[in-house]
């Protein structure tokens, strides 16, 4: 199992993502944004950070990089793609995931541990999924533009299709996200994006290892 972790100018969490992939028992390598070839990766992480300085809108310019063209083709062919924070924003801008991420409603950069409730269709991901609906994961969130938003009709549709993967636990929504949504998947289930950072929750020394399950679940998420 080989993970590819995309690295844009301005990415800052790609090393932690590599580390998380390796702790999950897999190999991992970086994919520079100018590479058009994913190097045989079996799954891809689009990591957190501030790709291309987040100029214009977060994720708007990264979308046009050669590596993201390759990731879009990989996702369309059923390959597992995990977008974290800025990576979630990039996947929404690319159209691989529904909705958009807006400025936090309180205008503050949030940096805190949050409880996430797993929701949606996790069991359909196969035997490798270690995440069950209703399970709570303790994961750090750190972002200024994490308010998930989509038109009401789109929210109804993604809820009905089980595409809401994570919600903030009651009272812990840090940014005004619609319906407490912290992460969504595509209809096929092979693309997942979330604002909190599972790659920062992989070592008991820093308080939680709940993030490992997200990597292990996505490793088996080929559609």
């Amino acid at each position: 199992m080989l993970w590819g972790v995309v690295q844009f100018p301005g990415s800052c969490d790609e090393r932690d993502a590599l580390h998380a992939c390796e702790l999950s028992g897999d190999e991992a390598r970086l994919i520079w944004h100018e590479e058009r070839d994913l190097g045989g990766a079996d799954a891809v992480v689009v990591p957190g950070g501030f790709s291309y300085g987040d100029y214009l809108r977060a994720g708007a310019i990264a979308r046009f990089s050669p590596a993201m063209e390759a990731v879009a083709e990989f996702a369309a062919a059923g390959g597992p793609v995990l977008g974290i924070c800025n990576g979630f924003q990039v996947l929404c801008e690319t159209g691989l995931l529904p909705g958009a991420l807006l400025l936090n409603d309180n205008l503050r950069f949030v940096c805190r541990q949050v409880d996430l409730l797993a929701d949606g269709l996790w069991p359909s991901q196969g035997a490798q999924s270690l995440i069950e609906p209703g399970e709570t994961l303790s994961i750090p969130a750190k972002h200024g533009e994490g308010r998930y938003w989509a038109p009401e009709g789109m929210l109804d549709a993604i809820e009905a299709k089980g595409q809401v993967a994570f919600r903030y636990a009651a009272g812990q929504n840090p940014n005004g996200s619609a319906r407490d949504i912290a992460g969504v998947r595509n209809e096929a289930g092979n693309v997942l994006g979330l604002m909190p950072h599972p790659e920062h929750a992989v070592d008991a020394m820093t308080g939680s290892t709940d993030g490992l399950g997200v990597f292990e679940a996505m490793a088996g998420a080929r559609a």
Binding site: L56, R57, A60, I61, F64, E93, G99, A100, L102, L103, N104, D105, N106, L107, R147, W149, A150, P151, G176
Partner: protein, 76 residues
């Protein structure tokens, strides 16, 4: 053509920047200002203005969350 593109959050989407500006105004003595919304302006020169709407939809604005208007500023 010289053009100016105005991009603003769609009606109905909470604009916290606009709210923050609105809340600051009474303290400065500006009463009666409501519904402040903050967007952005992009000025550019285009050889082929016909391409501008597509360019706006693909990059300058996110049509899910933002409206845009293109105006010519030739001679301005």
């Amino acid at each position: 053509m010289k053009a100016r593109v105005l991009i603003r959050p769609k009606e109905g989407i909470l604009d916290p920047q606009g709210k923050a500006v609105e809340r600051a105004l009474p303290a400065l003595g500006f009463e009666g200002i409501e519904h402040v919304r903050v967007g952005r302006v992009v000025e550019l020169e285009a050889e082929d203005p016909a391409k501008l709407p597509e360019l706006c939809e693909k990059l300058l604005a996110n049509p899910l969350i933002e409206d845009f208007e293109i105006e010519s500023i030739d001679g301005a």
